[in-house]
């Protein structure tokens, strides 16, 4: 404590902030992905080189062959919706 003789005094202040303002963070397709470790080829793609596999995976993503996933939430205060958004945002990067 800077001043040892200080005794607690309370003050009150008003703050203003945006109400009901939400945003969804989604990964940018063009940004480099954070990759940990290495990936191995699928059994069906064993004859392909790793880069071929990655290229074909990207191509199939472009073609929209991703597995559909339906995320549903029931939310009043936003917690459930935030968790649902987290799953939806993470979905496209799963398994790549």
């Amino acid at each position: 404590m800077e001043d040892p003789s200080y005794t607690v005094e309370l003050k009150q202040s008003l703050t203003i902030k945006p109400d009901g303002f939400y945003f969804h963070a989604t990964p940018r397709a063009s940004a480099p992905a954070l990759v940990v470790g290495t990936k191995t080829a699928a059994p069906a793609s064993q004859s392909q080189s790793k880069s071929d596999v990655h290229a074909s995976a990207r191509d199939s993503n472009k073609d929209g062959v991703k597995v559909p996933l339906h995320v549903l939430y029931g939310s009043n205060t936003g917690s459930s919706e935030a968790f649902a958004q987290r799953i939806a945002s993470a979905a496209s990067g799963k398994g790549e």
């Binding site: 596999v53 559909p68 549903l72």
Partner: protein, 138 residues
């Protein structure tokens, strides 16, 4: 988290439970995140809860889902009431549970950790069962 084989990833659509009334898809895995508010569904989940409570057969046959409930043990008697109800009724009506019901307690100190570990289990399961849902050209 990495899976050993290249998986195309998931294309998620997101909406409220009430928006799914009458047409819960059977062609794709379903993730449900919801809560109880003093034992009642959220404002955007009430019609969904009424819809499934009105079922008497195996209307949910073919539906595969994972559910995480956000709760607060300060509401002692109604803790997780709606998530548990949806989980139970969907299974009673023929749906398949992909992962065990997840529970987060906002009054505790591991609310987010509970979600993290449930989410990890969800992705592990989806990585295995997700592909049969895909409409792959092969």
């Amino acid at each position: 988290m990495l899976t050993p084989a290249p998986h195309p990833g998931f294309k998620a659509t997101i909406s409220t439970l009430d928006n799914a009334v009458g047409h819960l898809p059977t062609s794709e895995p379903i993730v449900i995140i919801t809560a109880s508010f003093e034992g009642e569904p959220a404002d955007n989940a009430g019609r969904f809860v009424e819809w499934i409570k009105g079922m008497h057969g195996s209307e949910m046959q073919g539906v595969a889902f994972g559910l995480f409930g956000c709760g607060n043990t300060d509401w002692v008697t109604t803790y997780q009431r709606i998530p548990k109800l949806i989980d139970r009724v969907l299974v009673e009506r023929g749906a398949e549970r992909l992962v065990d019901l997840g529970e987060g307690n906002a009054a505790g100190d591991s609310f987010f950790e509970a979600f993290d570990s449930w989410e990890a289990r969800l992705w592990e399961t989806l990585a295995e069962v997700g592909l049969p849902f895909a409409h792959c050209p092969e």
